[in-house]
């Protein structure tokens, strides 16, 4: 019986051979169908035909505009451009016949020798030529540290990260300014002793030796003591004469100042933004109100007016004798401004965290700061990494505005390069703007690709 049924029933032992996909789904033809022809070949009804015709029109128009613009750009930047100035005639190298030069009258393209001549100025501004190695060392150290932290295969990433946030700014500041700032050694010593005393009180308080009130505020007192000491020690370090020629911030410029403003703004705005975001979600009405007002105020006004305020009003706010230089004032404006934007991004992350996480942390008996630091913030911040990077990109682009209050950032250096009469020609402005724009594009595009990469990685790790 079984034998019979076996014979009568067909059981397939081998899979049928997989058929190739239809011809018009494969290769270039299939790609063309999917990406171009589907949208322009439907004439089955009047409306579909109209749509197809409109699509053909737009496709042709956009291809024409796109290709001509691309050709114009390539021609301007490469093919027709003047590349060298061997005889050292400067501006006349980029003049047409009617302007007194040698190029044909319809010539209109990039003047590269001008950009090559201004390259150093665009990178460092008026920084003294003999001291440029200091900027280079600072930049290379920063780049190396950043790469180390970002590449996941390397060991000691956490240690390098901590060093980048603590030791690196000190080294960078000493290298860039030359250190040897004025210091009042007597006051500094006095403050350090006060700090030591405060730390001692804090320690005693934590061991319940000074009664309950002190023990409660012991950590705060200790913290104040530590910050006092760290601040004074830093001041002393900056006052050490390491034998470098002092360079005031008035001599900084170019890409260097762009990076200084952007990196400082980024590094300071993140912790400040986190504190503001926590404050805005706090259950203390006063803290909530103040943080909300602060955030909404800075987000409601343009950065230009903030910079104007920083440059004309900060001198009025400070007591006599205290003076911030132009760069410092601009930095304060940029920091406060970007902290408000960062706060809103972080708040988005905090809101996205499930309420159960807060409750679980509370149920475990963690204090507010413990639960924030170990449970909530790590999740919230990874959640909004794309938003944080976007804020960074915005901040990086916004640093160009400091050129309006008289700092020579990359764009400001470009503008003052244009004012150089020995290179004056009709293509001067457009050459330098294209070049500066390209540099900004590389930085911002790089950051946005990194953010997309992180986003993909995080969404993968979350789905597991």
């Amino acid at each position: 019986m079984t034998q019979n049924s076996h014979n009568s029933v067909f059981v397939r032992k081998v899979d049928a051979e997989t058929l190739p996909p239809p011809q018009n789904e494969m290769g270039i033809r299939g790609w063309l169908w999917r990406n171009l022809l589907y949208s322009v070949t439907d004439y089955s009804s009047v409306s579909a035909a109209l749509r197809s015709l409109a699509m053909i029109f737009f496709t042709v128009l956009v291809s024409y505009v796109g290709l001509t613009q691309l050709w114009l750009l390539l021609d301007f930047v490469f093919f027709s451009a003047v590349w060298s100035d061997p005889t050292g005639i400067k501006r006349e190298a980029c003049w047409t016949l009617s302007q007194g030069g040698t190029l044909p009258d319809d010539w209109h393209a990039a003047c590269w020798p001008f950009i090559f001549a201004k390259l150093k100025f665009l990178a460092y501004g008026p920084y003294p030529m003999d001291e440029l190695w200091r900027v280079n060392v600072t930049g290379l150290l920063g780049l190396a540290g950043l790469c180390w932290v970002l590449i996941e295969a390397l060991p000691y990433r956490r240690l390098v990260g901590v060093l980048m946030l603590t030791a690196y700014p000190v080294i960078a500041l000493i290298l860039l300014t030359g250190g040897a700032s004025e210091a009042n050694y007597f006051n500094a010593t006095a403050y350090i002793f006060v700090g030591l005393a405060l730390i001692t009180v804090g320690r005693l308080g934590q061991r319940d030796l000074l009664g309950i009130v002190a023990s409660d505020f012991a950590s705060i007192i200790g913290f104040v003591g530590w910050s006092l000491i760290v601040f004074q020690v830093l001041m002393l370090i900056f006052s050490v004469d390491v034998g470098l020629k002092p360079v005031g911030t008035g001599d900084w410029g170019g890409l260097m100042i762009t990076l200084v403003v952007a990196v400082t703004g980024i590094v300071v705005s993140l912790p400040l933004g986190v504190i503001l975001a926590l404050g805005r979600r706090s259950n203390m009405p006063v803290a909530r109100l103040l943080c909300t007002i602060f955030i909404e105020f800075w987000r409601g006004v343009p950065l230009i007016s903030v910079l104007f305020m920083a440059s004309v009003m900060i001198p009025l706010f400070l007591p006599e004798g205290v003076n911030f230089d132009k760069l410092m004032r601009a930095l304060i404006g940029v920091m406060l401004f970007s902290a408000a934007y960062m706060a809103e991004v972080v708040r988005g992350g905090l809101q996205a965290i499930d309420k159960g996480q807060y409750e679980a942390a509370e149920a475990m008996g963690l204090t507010y700061w413990q639960s924030m630091r170990q449970i909530i913030l790590p999740q919230a911040l990874t959640h909004v990494i794309p938003g944080i990077v976007n804020t960074f990109i915005g901040l990086f682009k916004d640093t160009t505005l400091v050129s309006i209050i008289g700092l020579f950032d990359l764009l400001g250096a470009g503008k003052s390069a244009i004012a150089d009469a020995s290179w004056s020609s009709p293509v001067q402005a457009i050459s330098i703007y294209l070049f500066v724009g390209f540099i900004f594009f590389i930085f911002c595009f790089g950051m946005s690709r990194y953010s997309i990469f992180m986003e993909n990685k995080l969404s993968k790790s979350r789905s597991h």
Partner: protein, 405 residues
């Protein structure tokens, strides 16, 4: 003593007491810093021989402002107009740029955003390249590019690029366009236009109510435009066509210094305004395109499929299913882009377009030297604009939000 200290400990560790104590500390610190800043400021002002006060607002201003909507509306005249006029000219010019920029940026942004989702690779990649370039280059640089590198190489003041067969023209002094001249009685035509809009609005509400109650509305697609055109048109004819146009006049003969566009014919958009408008519009459009794209992608594909399976046509699906849901996602970030555009219009200070920051916190401040008062006025103006816009958009957002049970 022991019991006392225990009570004290309980008191100190009470979360409510700690909260209050901490808040008192914050208020104290805040009050101290405010006092400290005020004290410093007053001392500094005294040392510099300055005083606080808004008396400068009635002084007359002694500097030129290029012709713009603001100077036209407030009849600006050097030595006659006051700093209050300057303030309002600045606001007018800022709002002009903001409104025009928002309209154009929305149109381009929605177009490019939809292009990025097209299955036509030409449109898709063109839009992608546009968005990536625009979003990754600083706005100020783009502004300089348009102003110095593009508008700066236009024909000189004695030449022109003709547009629309001589109806307008473009050269380095600006874009010349026909200008309307309002005759007496035009106000009534304008009122009639407003009235027809109100009637149309009421009609659409009635139609919607009827639709909700009975499932049958009126077809208003043709009625509303007909209503508006007929009411406005009839008033226009009755009032005797109270609207004339003057056309820009270009002379290339006669004395050399009188060649070029004539002052009293047509209207001119100064190149600063064109550059600001171009830069702001194209920049913001890049961001709006990304918002639109994200909003449309976020509408689940199941919604479209469900709609098709109910037998709705693609155009109706798009209009009644996809767009209303996408708009809910698009509106909040779109609002902040509109606000960004308004605030970014202050970059015009870099090329001296006479908007609020440029003429009031720039030129006027240099003349009067009232830093605190003037920066305060400028900042609060932007703040008020921002707050009004976000209140309005929050209200709108609450209206279109899904009502959850």
């Amino acid at each position: 003593m022991f019991i006392n200290s225990n009570n004290l400990s309980a008191f100190i560790n009470d979360a409510r007491v700690r909260n209050i104590g901490f808040q008192v500390l914050i208020i104290g610190a805040l009050a101290f810093s405010v006092w400290w800043l005020m004290d410093n400021t007053l001392t500094n002002l005294e040392n510099r021989g300055k005083s606080l006060g808004f008396g400068f607002l009635v002084q007359t201003a002694g500097f030129e402002i290029s012709d713009t909507l603001g100077t036209w509306l407030f009849d600006y005249e050097v030595g006659v107009s006051s700093y209050t006029d300057i303030y309002f000219i600045g606001i007018t010019n800022t709002l002009l740029i903001a409104v025009l920029g928002i309209v154009f940026a929305s149109i381009i942004g929605f177009g490019v955003g939809i292009m990025r989702l097209s299955n036509n690779f030409v449109l898709k990649y063109f839009a992608t390249v546009y968005v990536e370039i625009i979003r990754n280059v600083p706005l100020l640089l783009q502004l300089f590019f348009w102003y110095f590198a593009v508008l700066g190489v236009l024909p000189g003041a004695r030449n022109q690029l003709e547009i629309w067969g001589g109806l307008g023209g473009l050269n380095i002094t600006g874009l010349y366009l026909p200008a309307p001249i309002f005759q007496p009685g035009f106000g009534l035509v304008f009122l009639a236009f407003i009235a027809s809009l109100i009637i149309a609005f009421v009609a659409s509400r009635i139609s919607k109510k009827k639709q909700d109650e009975t499932g049958q509305g009126f077809n208003l697609l043709f009625i509303i435009p007909a209503l508006i055109i007929s009411i406005t048109g009839v008033t226009y004819v009755i009032m005797g066509s109270p609207l004339d146009w003057t056309f820009p006049e270009f002379k290339n003969t006669g004395p050399i210094f009188k060649r070029g566009f004539q002052d009293d014919a047509g209207m001119v958009l100064v190149p600063e305004m064109l550059a600001v408008l171009l830069a702001l519009t194209l920049y913001t459009a890049g961001f709006i395109a990304e918002i639109v794209r994200a909003g449309i992608i976020a509408v689940s594909h199941g919604q479209t499929e469900a709609s098709y399976s109910l037998g709705l046509r693609p155009s109706i699906t798009l209009r009644l299913i996809v767009i209303p849901q996408a708009m809910r996602i698009i509106i909040p970030p779109l609002t902040s882009q509109y606000l960004n555009l308004t605030k970014n219009s202050s970059l015009a200070v870099a090329i001296a377009y006479p908007e609020l920051v440029s003429i009031f916190a720039g030129t006027a401040l240099n003349q009067v030297g009232k830093e605190i008062e003037m920066i305060f006025m400028v900042m609060s103006t932007y703040l008020i604009i921002s707050l009004i816009t976000s209140f309005f958009m929050n209200w709108f957002n609450a209206r279109v939000k899904i009502v959850e049970r």
